[in-house]
Symmetry: C2
Subunit: 401 residues, 2 copies
């Protein structure tokens, strides 16, 4: 499974959930999101009726979803537009919001219900279950979903309930049974919360980065870009760092009222392209300066890479000087594409450069493959001298998507 980008819609608040999902689907379809890969519309907690039906199956709350159609109708609506539908379940007795859960004895019937509804993804939460039950339940749901024959993306909250780290969490097993997993607490719509998540993921990068790869992703939780709590610089920072982390791009904002600033960030083709790179290698923090500047790096296909210069300062834009050589790049000449300013440059590994990084902001680069060294001998004073770079070898890709 490729990495997912989607919109997460929380239906606990509005009472007209069905219309909300349809509105979001229409926006994805009409406003250029779908083409960029934002194809999932995911229903979060609070969709279910408090009672199972006569056959013991989960059923949607009739106050929120029209009876006799419900989730299945919603899935059809998505599929008719080339979109997909995600749903939420919980492996405990109840969901976190107090709705019926899917404990061990209900896993098979609920997996089948989701498949019957033609659902495309399941987030399987962990409230009201203990470690022993989780150890049985998460693998069991994986098997049950596979047994339905329908491809259903499987998002496991399991590691988040076990502290997110070995030995309690077994990432090789997770990679075998889940497509993505929440490692850590819920994001809040605030910069503090984004920083807490960034810190935890990169402090534990030695453990977490190897766990990720195509079809198995760490999920640091939703983007809050376009909500209420982040400045434009902070929004670019979240988009950049989530792309470095190869994180699933879950939007959480209202697409009906999104500002053009937030839209431009979420629709940035280069950032999405970096996020979705086919190698699926999760990036790492490689520099932590006393000045508050940090450098993040992610290797990409075609021998390219992404760099993010991030400022944790709160005062003024900071002019950070470094070179690609200092960032451990091999000898060569590189083409640089600045993801948010869309400027390009050519840079030798040995050349010092300066990036001006806004407080709580980032500068993000796509860095091409190093141009190969060719021994174009050239002469000065009758003697052969040095080497030259072949610039054609490391051109920027013409299109990124």
């Amino acid at each position: 499974m490729m990495n997912v980008i989607l919109i997460f819609v929380n239906p606990c608040f509005p009472s007209d959930s069905e219309n909300l999902f349809i509105d979001m689907a229409d926006r994805l379809f009409e406003d250029g999101w779908k083409e960029l890969g934002y194809v999932y519309v995911n229903i979060d907690d609070c969709w279910a009726s408090m009672q199972r039906d006569a056959q013991g199956r989960l059923q949607p709350d009739p106050k929120r979803y029209s009876v006799g159609g419900g989730i299945h109708k919603l899935a059809r609506y998505m599929h008719d537009r080339g979109l997909k539908l995600g749903i939420y379940g919980d492996m405990g007795t109840h969901t976190c919001g107090g709705y019926p859960g899917t404990p061990l004895d209900k896993i098979q019937i609920d997996a089948q219900t989701f498949a019957d509804w033609e659902v495309d993804m399941l987030k399987y939460d962990g409230c009201y279950s203990n470690a022993t039950e989780q150890e049985q339940g998460y693998p069991l749901m994986s098997k049950a979903l596979n047994a339905t024959g329908r491809p259903i993306g499987y998002s496991c909250s399991w590691p988040a309930y076990q502290g997110g780290l070995p030995p309690k969490v077994n990432y090789s097993q997770l990679g075998q049974i889940c497509n993505l997993w929440r490692n850590y607490g819920d994001i809040q719509d605030s910069w503090d919360s984004v920083l807490r998540i960034v810190d935890w993921f990169f402090e534990n990068q030695e453990v977490l980065a190897p766990a990720a790869g195509p079809g198995r992703w760490n999920d640091p939780d939703m983007l809050v870009v376009g909500d209420f709590g982040l400045s434009m610089d902070q929004s670019r920072a979240q988009m950049a760092l989530w792309s470095i982390m190869a994180a699933p791009l879950f939007m959480s904002n209202d697409l009906r009222t999104i500002s053009s600033g937030a839209r431009n960030i979420l629709q940035n083709k280069m950032a999405i392209s970096i996020n979705q790179d086919v190698l699926g290698i999760q990036g790492q923090r490689i520099v932590k300066e006393k000045s508050g500047i940090e450098v993040y790096w992610r290797p990409l296909s075609n021998n390219a890479s992404a760099l993010v210069f991030f400022s944790r300062r709160n005062d003024m834009p900071y002019r950070y000087t470094t070179s690609l050589r200092k960032l451990k790049y091999p000898t060569g000449s590189y083409k640089i594409f600045d993801v948010f300013s869309e400027k390009t440059a050519t840079l030798k590994d040995s050349s010092d450069f300066v990036v001006s990084v806004n407080p709580t902001g980032v500068v993000m680069w796509y860095v091409s493959a190093p141009g190969k060294l060719h021994f174009h001998k050239f002469f000065r004073g009758g003697k052969p001298r040095g080497t030259e770079y072949d610039a054609a070898e490391n051109a920027l890709p013409y299109a990124f998507l």
Copy 2:
């Protein structure tokens, strides 16, 4: 002295300070700021040469300001455009940035130098001085400025160095000698910092609000709207709460590159008009709900008032229900003007209403005087019934500035 609104320019970073101040002055003059009252351009720390001149006078750093003109030339540049110039001094041996201070024995000569340069405001900081010196120095500078015969707004950092509260701080004395004063620590370009300041000022409102009035203002520090750290909702919240506090409106952003979103907030006529209300009464927090909604209130001239509904939540827009009666408004019918949406409404004190407040955001209202009750008797079934409001009495002002 009326309340001040101005731009604070920190010259410690760029080396071409003179040009920076001239650029800001040009923006104030050309981009509609001056007409709204943003007329001061204030030089912060780092402007001075390390050496006093042969006559013992402060002199500007020749690397930053052209010799033979310097600050005086800059003041003339401002005055030619109907703007004003502010400068920075410190009552200790050194400024906070390590430049020459204005201790007790230098107060008279420096006050005269500032007046000779035709400066219009002085921020007198307190680094490298002790409580005893401050007790002498702040009143002495007040006298010295008055003695020059030039009207110079006098901003005292004194209370901030003494914890901001009685008995260490004497607000009646401050009101007599200073025009404005910093009560609390420096603001940072972050929402956390804004919240810390809001909390401190409103937790101590019983002491602080009575200290303020025309010509004597509490200064919770600069607006960081238009910098890097606040979202649009947070920016509106700072503008609204600073207006409730009758705070001097000091901008700190770069006017050359400000976004239209931030500009619209800083140039909101109604918010400025509330901030600058002639009564100069500092507002207060009147409600603190468990839901995270808080209500702030400021009495205004013409028997009007301002209300701010503030959400400290981090999740979703919150629908808050209340009535003007619950907010202790007298019986009557009120015209409401929503400061940021620019919508109007009419509300009876007894009517419940709902405001939807974004996370870390505000809804801000100008509330007209209550319409007087008139005994327009009206008849139903032959019997006289009740009363009616005379709507013409409490119309919204046609123009606010």
